[in-house]
Symmetry: C2
Subunit: 271 residues, 2 copies
């Protein structure tokens, strides 16, 4: 048990977007070590088929389990939407946590009218998981979804504010918000929080923006307490694995983590 | 020999951008059959490391060779930039043609001042192949490169004209064109021709836009004649393989081919 407590928490994402979730986890859990794996060789997952995404998710999880992790967080909405169940079935002994249920809970708490918008990648929207999770909690809610794939590219390019982001946000969201009358908008992709300011300006202050990173971190915090899995070590480590492109990972990842990463700190692994 | 003549021409790309090259080939070579393979499960190549791109390129080429092709066209600038030589060495009996040399030749013919711009993905720009090829032909030319990764996402999203494309083009190209004084601009990524109108409006009519698709097609036409490899069949076939997402391939591919594709016509293959 003691040895399990000392293991890091595994965090897996299609690339670097999941670092927004890692950042929230690291803040809420200052004693925990983390092992992050970004499948940068095969990103983005959001435009790929469920079958391919699940195959990739199983491969990345196997590697994290071999290295040794006590809990797995799927910090990718697409992988959560299409592969959470497959991963839970493949590793019944290990808690596997996705970002969608915590995001859905936060949205239901934030909404007073029950009209909830979800923006995400094509795969996440088509998978319908947010819809399902929100309706499980709040059966009379009305959920409206909109794929926003260009937000991913803008975030990856590091264009987080300015004229282009605002114009793209307007094209995606202006009539969507008007037509649906939502009071809450879920940022259903880990890339989107870095664009939150621009998105907020387009949708206006009366719509609550929900980011699942912080609610997921809270969820993991409670899980560790409940299962008595919290680390008692004084020093923690943050380790980064990627399947391609250490330099790009460090450069763009710095934007997401809001801190400095160096390419020598990223270990490249082959899946 | 007769049986070789009847084989299709293999065309390989990281995804669907290469369909702009296929379209040019099909127009210039109306009697030839084509077998197109888009590695949609692992696109985009443009942000990945040379080692990964070459591994993927060798896998896709092996499949095309097993199916039977008489010539291979690499319809992807990134794969040409980093993997052409590896493919030529792996298949010494088969002509392997990339898009960069034809594009460089066309640029040198179009330029009167010798000041040539190249816009492409990060990998193509970092690889420096356009630079090298242009200087081999025109040793006193000056080549200026600019990565434009968002153009790929805009084309994939089908946003080929309008305010967003123009604004992104302005941000990428306005000061680039002013500062360098180029008279020719190479569209060094197969996705870019679908944005040519918007790019042309930003750079202005005095700058010649060079698209390697047509010059590559001309190059293949001459190769078939020289090596007596031209088909004598009356009917030709166009076949499409992809590693993921038949529906998306058909939907976005239609924009690139400027014709209608149906998902049932796309065969999904595993590499």
């Amino acid at each position: 048990m003691e040895s399990t407590r000392s293991l890091p928490i595994g965090v897996f994402d299609s690339g670097i977007g999941g670092l927004t979730v890692l950042k929230a986890l690291a803040e809420v859990l200052p004693q925990e070590s983390f092992l992050y794996l970004g499948d940068t060789a095969r990103l983005p997952y959001g435009t790929k088929s469920p079958k391919s995404v699940t195959r990739y998710a199983l491969q990345t999880t196997r590697l994290l389990v071999e290295r040794g992790v006590k809990v797995l967080v799927i910090a990718c909405n697409t992988a959560t939407a299409v592969s959470l169940q497959a991963l839970q079935e493949a590793y019944p002994q290990m808690p596997v946590i996705g970002v969608i249920r915590p995001g859905a809970q936060a949205a239901c708490r934030a909404s007073t009218t029950g009209r909830i918008g979800v923006i995400a990648t094509e795969s996440t929207v088509n998978g319908g998981s947010y819809n399902e999770e929100i309706l499980r909690i709040h059966p009379t809610a009305q959920v409206f979804s909109r794929p926003c794939p260009l937000f991913v590219s803008l975030a990856e390019e590091g264009w987080c504010e300015g004229e282009v982001v605002e114009l793209v946000a307007k094209q995606y969201l202006h009539s969507f918000v008007q037509d649906t009358g939502i009071d809450t908008l879920v940022l259903g992709c880990t890339h989107f929080p870095v664009l939150a300011r621009a998105i907020g300006q387009v949708v206006g202050p009366r719509i609550a923006l929900v980011d699942s990173a912080h609610t997921t971190a809270q969820f993991v915090y409670e899980l560790l307490r409940k299962d008595d899995l919290g680390s008692r070590d004084q020093r923690r480590t943050l380790s980064f694995l990627a399947t391609d492109g250490a330099e790009r990972f460090a450069r763009v990842g710095g934007v997401f983590m809001n801190s400095c990463l160096e390419s020598k700190d990223i270990e490249i692994v082959d899946l």
